[in-house]
Amino acid sequence: MARAYMLFGFTVFLVQLHVSGNITKYINMKYSYLSLTAAILFGLLTVIQVIHVFKTEGNHDHEHDHDCDHTCHHGHVHKKEKGFKRFLSAIVFIFPVFTGLFLPISTLDSTIVDAKGFHFPVSEPGNNDPFMQRQYLKPDLSVYYGEEGYKQLIKQETKEFVNKNHIELNDENFLKGMEVLYDNPGIFLGTKVTYKGFVYREKTLNNNQLFIFRFGIIHCVADSGVYGMLIDFPKKSDLKNDQWVEVTGTLKQMYYQPFKTTIPYLQVDNLKEVKPPNEPYVYRNK
């Protein structure tokens, strides 16, 4: 019967994630149908396990299920682990359900950027090797469209952005916009850009520079990476790691030594501290 409770625990946990909407803090919603299917299967298995237990223990007193765990396994078809080992393996199954249901869900922040790092392509001028495409910090959406379609799209998107003298990036167009900006920073020089993200101070940066990042998610939180830009202040900035801000700045380019490449950055015009958004992550959603 302990198994039925554990299966029920998984069912409740998954259903709760979907009902509360917290599932977006773990996986890309594009794949939510998978975990919904899993929830339904767990529900089904719970019912089957309950019936199975009653069937194979037909003569036992059903009012005392908790006793059953200690006394009933002689009659089972399958051999089960006993005593302490059984207890341990129950703990393993209960643990994720428990921490998932009761511990606060945290949003990935600078702790993870510290551990995982962020990569920026070492770009050698004139290198047109397709395998040397730059990707980090620069979401490459060419992946979703054919080469031709992609070029067209980029052209179209670039057009969409290029005629504006102020580009505002939100949850939906963040990855797309970052890509357009990184793809062809030259034509956006001097354009104003506004976006939200959290502060990440990299040790090698001057104290008037920092990164503003957002985590982008492919499948689930475990495969996320950060996207964003370097921000340059006129003077020293006291912003702390993980402070969410909305930044407006003018796009410029510079040679950035640690990355050994030219990157676009924002010369800050205006920056205000904001509350962390409800949806802290951006997703690959096409």
């Binding site: 773990y26 945290s106 922040d109 397709p130 979703y144 992609y150 475990a222």
Partner: protein, 292 residues
């Protein structure tokens, strides 16, 4: 300090839960398949399907992955069930190694992740097939003929009504879920801890030269324990810092051996056999990607 540890713990827990939530559907598919094999597939059917000759048997198994989509968290229960049903272990293992890589869904994801570049897909696919083929053949000369830890074979009566069979599949799936799920959860926990507490960035920085960079990428694949459908996207983000061959190493070794399925393997197979599988897959991937 205590506070910052708790903070890191919560971050770790979030990654942990996300791996579990992501993997659960796949392990459920795996245990259901395992149940279906147990209840519906007879030993005779399998022995007809797999050629007697070991070279052919491994070849068939290696290529089976093309039509049989499996992912690395769901495939271990399927493979141990196949062995219990009489499939030669070396053939089953060869299938286990390529299954999560050469299936259509993963190949398509790889195609997409590398900017619609078929070259990377072919490299990944070929390397995986060669590694799995050699591993399978070497294993077929191994002294361990029955690598399973316990005799899974519960005699099955094939002459029961369909309704009863379907019921048995479910009961069997539950049984399997509890024996496999445990190791998936422990593996996910370790992978999440490593991601949070050990600087993978530092690891990445050591990786220079063909040998070292393949080694580092394989270590990374093992540690990150990504789903084989998502790993290509992560791999592509390393394109600039790592050579093509070490990225192939990442995408070949990761789905074959990572923290999650190592735990599941040790739970199902004899220690010596698991070490051989890991050693072979590791050695051959490293060799191939260093010298090609």
């Amino acid at each position: 300090m205590g506070n910052s540890f708790f903070h890191s713990f919560l971050q770790m827990n979030t990654i942990f839960i996300s791996i579990v939530v992501e993997a659960l559907p796949f392990i459920l598919i795996g245990v259901f398949f395992s149940g279906i094999i147990q209840i519906f597939v007879t030993e005779e059917m399998l022995s007809k399907l797999i050629p007697k000759n070991r070279f052919l048997a491994v070849l068939v198994s290696v290529l089976l992955g093309f039509i049989f989509p499996g992912c690395e968290c769901g495939i271990v229960p399927i493979v141990s069930r196949l062995i219990a049903k009489g499939v030669p272990p070396y053939a089953a293992i060869a299938f286990m190694l390529t299954g999560p890589i050469i299936n259509p869904i993963v190949l398509f994801a790889t195609f997409i992740a590398f900017g619609n570049n078929i070259h990377m897909v072919i490299l990944r696919c070929l390397t995986a097939i060669i590694v799995a083929y050699i591993t399978g053949i070497v294993l077929s000369y191994s002294k361990i003929q029955n690598p399973l830890l316990k005799e899974h074979t519960i005699p099955v009566n094939y002459n029961v009504p369909l309704k009863q069979k379907l019921w048995d599949v479910c009961v069997h799936a539950i049984e399997e879920f509890f024996s496999m799920g445990k190791f998936l959860i422990i593996g996910a926990f370790i992978a999440a801890s490593v991601q949070t507490f050990i600087s993978t960035d530092a690891l990445v920085k050591i990786g220079h030269g063909p040998f070292l960079s393949s080694l580092v990428m394989m270590a990374l694949a093992f540690i990150l324990s990504l789903c084989s459908e998502a790993d290509a996207f992560v791999a592509s983000s390393f394109q600039s810092t790592f050579s093509t061959s070490s990225i192939v190493a990442f995408m070949v070794f990761g789905p074959m051996v990572d923290i999650k399925n190592t735990f599941m393997l040790f739970n199902n197979f004899k220690k010596g056999y698991v070490l051989r599988i890991i050693g072979l897959a590791f050695g051959i991937t490293l060799l191939l990607t260093t010298f090609i």
